[in-house]
């Protein structure tokens, strides 16, 4: 019994609530007669789907999808490229220790050209935190998809309310049955 509870209810509680919210939203969209209520139902339905997506992306023992970072170094192009080249070398040689950095700097100072510049900045940032493990960060993909969905949902809400206002201006009511009655006359 305990096992059944933890497997079916507790570990999937988000999905149960998402189903309940979806049913509430659909019921409000179909069964309610007032237009504002229908629009509230539409928004509840949208939010339920967003809840489903975000629940899929959760990882246990993981942190927010914002990487640790240090300030970007500016400065003149030559010194910039040399420092980045140093990091590049450090990154490329697995056994390199911080003691080897001065040598690498002097070595990279000679190695100029478009190729060094291409990999430069990325390697510099990667050198600060070489050990990015995908299991340590929450899956960012559902967040990206849902972020725009929320802003689009407020746009659809605005259009829906504008339509409701047009209906109210024409028929003087927001109730579906009263509108149908006045249409029949």
């Amino acid at each position: 019994m305990e096992e059944f509870f933890s497997q079916t209810i507790a570990s999937k509680y988000n999905y149960w609530c998402y189903i309940v919210l979806m049913m509430i939203g659909l019921y409000a969209m179909v069964g309610k007669r007032n237009m504002i209520k229908k629009i509230v139902g539409m928004n509840i339905f949208q939010t339920a789907i967003i809840l489903f997506y975000v629940s899929l992306g959760v990882k246990r023992d993981a942190t927010l999808p914002i990487l640790e970072h240090h300030g970007h170094e500016g400065g003149d192009a030559g010194g910039h490229a040399a420092a980045q080249g140093a990091h590049d070398t450090l990154h490329a040689v697995p056994g390199a220790t911080p003691d080897a950095v001065p040598d690498a700097v002097s070595g990279a100072a000679h190695a100029t050209g478009p190729e060094a510049l291409d990999h430069a900045a990325g390697a510099a940032d990667a050198a600060h935190h070489v050990a990015i493990n995908a299991a340590d960060y929450i899956n960012p993909l559902p967040h990206v998809l849902m972020l725009t969905a929320i802003v689009v949902s407020v746009a659809t809400l605005g259009v829906a309310l504008a339509l409701a206002l047009r209906v109210h201006r024409r028929y003087g009511t927001l109730d579906e049955t009263e509108i149908l009655e006045s249409l029949r006359q």
Binding site: Y15, V30, R60, I66, H80, D125, N139, V152, V154
Partner: protein, 278 residues
């Protein structure tokens, strides 16, 4: 109708309950969406490829920038739809009546034929209509708060690379600060500071800025919205060009979203006349 709705809901709920056993457990690191190689690629390589620590912003404005451009176009279209649905042009009298409220007693005075009182009057305040009440505490507190809200919104837009935030959030907060002005004062105050035509220009300028960055990349020899091509123009490395390109795009998104929020509120609250708000 009610029975039909309940039956439809039960059908949907039953179908979803039937498949809920196949959903991955909540928080499982090895579930299919979390284990997929695309998500791993973004987490591991975003910093090297774009130098943007906030992965969500990087994916939103860089990896799927083309998609986000048309999401912005959807918001633009929503503002235009509200304009065409609700906007009406009634006949405006050349000399409209002005309504003033006596601050101590709350009595409204209507001055006909466009007569005005002195704006510096301390006993009378101009209000939009008789149903509106001029509240000294609310309007003063909101006027003090609005600059800070706008400053925070600009921070959210500009700092969206490094912390949660970005064009959508910053644009909505910027729009909400103007809505606060319209609610705490009246629509006339907002209209004088931000006329409808300027909002329309802002709405279009956001989209034009976004697609303009894309076309600039094409002019400088890259693909559409391939920010690396802008590196020589801005004098930075190709990886930093990604970061700067994302910033320009986010500013465009913020402009469109802000104008859309203000326009939709104005049309709905004034019923399309753009004269009297709430």
């Amino acid at each position: 109708m009610k029975i039909l709705a309940i039956a439809l809901c039960l059908l949907l709920g039953g179908a979803l309950v039937f498949v809920v056993g196949d959903f991955p457990d909540w928080g499982d690191p090895m579930s299919p969406p979390n284990d997929y190689r695309l998500s791993k690629h973004f987490i591991e390589n975003t910093m090297e490829e774009t130098s943007v620590p906030n992965i969500v912003t990087a994916v939103l404005a860089d990896y799927r920038g083309f998609d986000t451009m048309f999401e912005t176009a959807v918001i633009f279209t929503a503002a235009l739809a509200c304009f065409f649905l609700l906007r009406t042009w009634g006949r405006r009298p050349s000399k409209p009546d002005n309504v003033y409220m006596h601050l101590l007693t709350g009595v409204h005075v209507r001055l006909k034929h466009g007569k005005t009182l002195s704006p510096q009057s301390r006993t009378f305040a101009r209000v939009e209509s008789e149903i509106l009440r001029y509240d000294l505490v609310t309007s003063t507190v909101c006027r003090l708060m609005i600059p800070f809200i706008q400053l925070f919104a600009l921070y959210v837009v500009a700092h969206g690379h490094h912390s949660p935030g970005g064009g959508f959030q910053g644009g909505v907060i910027l729009g909400a600060s103007f809505l606060l002005l319209a609610i705490s004062h009246d629509l006339r105050t907002l209209r004088e500071r931000f006329p409808e035509v300027k909002l329309m220009y802002l709405l279009i300028a956001g989209i034009v800025l976004y697609s303009g960055v894309g076309f600039a990349c094409m002019i400088y020899g890259g693909n559409f919205l391939e920010y690396e091509a802008l590196g020589p123009l801005m004098g930075v490395t190709p990886v930093m060009a990604h970061s700067l390109g994302i910033l320009f795009v986010e500013i465009g998104v913020a402009m469109t979203v802000m104008a859309t929020m203000i326009l939709i509120y104005n049309y709905i609250s004034s019923l399309g006349t753009y004269e009297r708000g709430l």
